[in-house]
């Protein structure tokens, strides 16, 4: 009620004044009602857990739940940094995420440039339909697929590797092969899907640029280098920044499913460790501290990339 009367007096006194949330509330109350369910769920399920991060600085208390018990400061961060797992976890996390970016990021760009060169329309459509498909397979099925295909005794690729002379190598249990298998299967699954956005950027290249390049006597390769790549650079930079911010947090399910006791020295990353410490062993405060550590790494990578991009190309997220 206070809102409404406030709105009235504001309208009476100054017609020219910019409308405010309060002064438009009566007019827009239906809009507020429509957005309310979304606001409430986001507050409950996204913002309250953010508040719950403070648990990393407190002792977990069963009766207090998310609010936590006594304040212990940086105790759990120190415990994590001094634990024997610390350097292994950091190394594995960075190794997997950086390899994914370095190898996986250029792949859809190259694919998009290739698809864009195809002039046989039917063939282009068939190729696109096929390469988008794996994106919709669930992670469980993907890892299951890897398991049956790479199995050393019965799998298709396993048999192939055996015939090539590497007898009895089980790629899924190997420390050396874990990162390549992870990254290559990731590219296999998502390269087509991720190329869509670049294809869209390529489709919007000004046709006059092609004509100008043709008049200058450019060959196909020169057109790619001097017309098409510069045209998609802004898209590339924005996606690179966004990928940097999320890559460490996206791999949990797949890494978790690919883990086995043999590849654990390389496949244990921060997120899988948080799951084991927190959900399995119920050390909630300790796990929350490790999780927060991960979030901070993610966010600083995002900031670093954004700053670099801003310096180099004046393109930024904000």
């Amino acid at each position: 009620m206070a809102f409404i009367s406030g709105a009235k007096s504001a309208q009476d006194t100054k017609q020219l004044k910019k409308p405010t949330v309060v002064s438009t509330f009566k007019r827009d109350y239906q809009l507020w009602l429509m957005i309310l369910p979304a606001i409430i769920t986001v507050i409950i399920f996204n913002y309250i857990p953010m508040y719950g991060v403070q648990l990393a600085f407190r002792e977990y208390d069963f009766t207090a739940g998310l609010t936590g018990g006594d304040f212990v400061g940086l105790k759990y961060f120190e415990q994590f940094i001094n634990s024997h797992m610390f350097w292994d976890l950091i190394r594995n996390t960075l190794l997997i995420s950086i390899t994914t970016i370095v190898v996986g990021f250029p792949a859809p760009i190259i694919l998009a440039l290739l698809i864009n060169q195809i002039r046989w329309k039917r063939g282009k459509k068939i190729l696109q339909t096929t390469v988008y498909l794996p994106h919709f397979i669930s992670i469980v099925v993907l890892v299951g697929l890897l398991n049956v295909l790479l199995s050393p005794n019965t799998g298709l690729l396993g048999l192939l590797i055996e015939r090539m002379g590497f007898e009895g190598t089980n790629l899924l249990a190997s420390i050396k092969a874990f990162v390549p298998v992870y990254v290559i299967s990731d590219i296999w699954q998502h390269v087509g899907w991720n190329s869509i956005i670049y294809l869209a950027a390529l489709a919007s290249v000004d046709p006059q640029l092609y004509d100008a390049a043709k008049i200058d006597g450019a060959n196909r390769w020169q057109i790619i280098r001097n017309v098409e790549i510069p045209a998609i650079i802004p898209t590339i930079i924005i996606l690179l920044i966004l990928n940097m911010g999320t890559v460490i947090s996206t791999g949990f399910e797949k890494i978790f499913l690919m883990q086995n006791s043999l590849n654990l020295p390389i496949s244990e990353v921060i997120e899988t460790y948080v799951y084991k410490v927190g959900i399995i062993s119920n050390q909630f405060s300790y796990a929350a501290a490790i999780g927060l550590f991960n979030t901070l790494i993610n966010f600083s990578l995002l900031l670093i990339m954004n700053t670099i991009a801003k310096r180099v190309s004046r393109i930024s997220l904000w």
């Binding site: 429509m34 399920f45 719950g52 869209a200």
Partner: protein, 304 residues
């Protein structure tokens, strides 16, 4: 347009011919690398397991056997998982759309004053989240653990990416004049949204509806973290047990131990079969998915 001008750049140079040869061969190679594993799963699931295990099934199925599918149809775990996932996916998607679409409409209204602030409020959650443990404890405090509700109400109930897609669509397809004309006829925002906006937005509703549906279908994380009761587990958890934990046969036999390679062959055939059975709904929806999803990426990328 681009292709028209590309057409005009005819292959006049010998270098361009070589270029074409390289492009087409690489594309054919990519096609087979992506398509073959999928094709192989299909033919392996209906072939004699012994031929599959010895590498004799390469291009065509050999020695038909439906042993795998027979096992799957007898396995009650699969059916319970299927039923649960179907329920979570349909009901969950309904709630997702019920919460996302009106919110997106509101955010598309230029005159709505809190628009910019609320947009930031939603987008912020894309970059920052509480993490696994606080979210788990929240679910625990709310007593949602081991209930079907956790599949429907969770941090992704309102997916910000889908919200942005829908908002962008409304902004560019529902002109303000239309709303003004409707208000003259006595339309409120409620009735305008219901009678004008929704019927005009079938494309975007399909896009984000399918996005949500596929997400629910493939959701493994929720079951892993929040569900202990096996009767509530979704299909993906059952799949994990069969495909990865090698609990192929409901009775517990055939885990590769006693029968050795022989049992494993049959277990593998069950695995090929279950991959097909569990992915079938997605494959059946794929023609629609592909048509609309591509659109979704494009709408979403117009304004990030």
């Amino acid at each position: 347009m681009a292709s028209v001008s590309m057409e005009r750049i005819k292959n006049k140079k010998p270098g361009d011919l070589l270029f074409d040869v390289v492009v087409y061969s690489v594309c054919i190679f990519i096609f087979f690398v992506v398509a073959y594993p999928l094709y192989f799963i299909v033919i392996a699931s209906v072939s004699d397991p012994t031929f599959v295990a010895t590498g004799k099934v390469i291009f065509f199925p050999k020695g038909f056997s439906f042993f795998g599918y027979e096992q799957i149809f007898q396995d009650s775990r699969v059916w319970i998982g299927y039923r649960n996932t179907l329920f979570y996916a349909i009901f969950g998607t309904f709630i997702n759309l019920l919460f996302t679409l009106p919110a997106a409409y509101v955010l598309s209204r230029q005159e709505f004053r809190a628009r910019r602030f609320l947009m930031f409020f939603f987008v912020f959650t894309m970059f920052f989240n509480g993490g696994l443990i606080p979210t788990y404890l929240l679910m625990k405090d709310l007593s949602l653990i081991d209930t079907p509700w956790v599949f429907i109400f969770n941090p992704l109930t309102v997916n910000v990416f889908n919200l942005i897609i829908a908002r962008t669509f409304f902004e560019s397809n529902i002109p303000n004049e239309m709303y003004e004309a409707a208000t003259i006829d006595g339309c409120t925002h409620f009735s305008f949204f219901q009678k004008v906006v929704l019927p005009l937005s079938k494309a975007v509703i399909s896009v984000i509806g399918l996005y949500y549906l596929v997400w629910h279908w493939n959701d493994f994380f929720t079951g892993l973290i929040y569900i202990r009761n096996y009767d509530l587990q979704p299909l993906q958890i059952v799949l994990r047990d069969i495909l990865l934990s090698n609990q192929v046969f409901a009775e517990g036999a055939g885990s590769g131990g006693t029968g050795g390679g022989y049992a494993q062959r049959y277990a593998d055939q069950v695995k090929y079969g279950i991959i097909i059975v569990s992915t079938l709904p997605i494959l059946m929806l794929y023609p629609f998915i592909q048509k609309y999803f591509e659109k979704g990426v494009l709408i979403g990328s117009v304004k990030g």
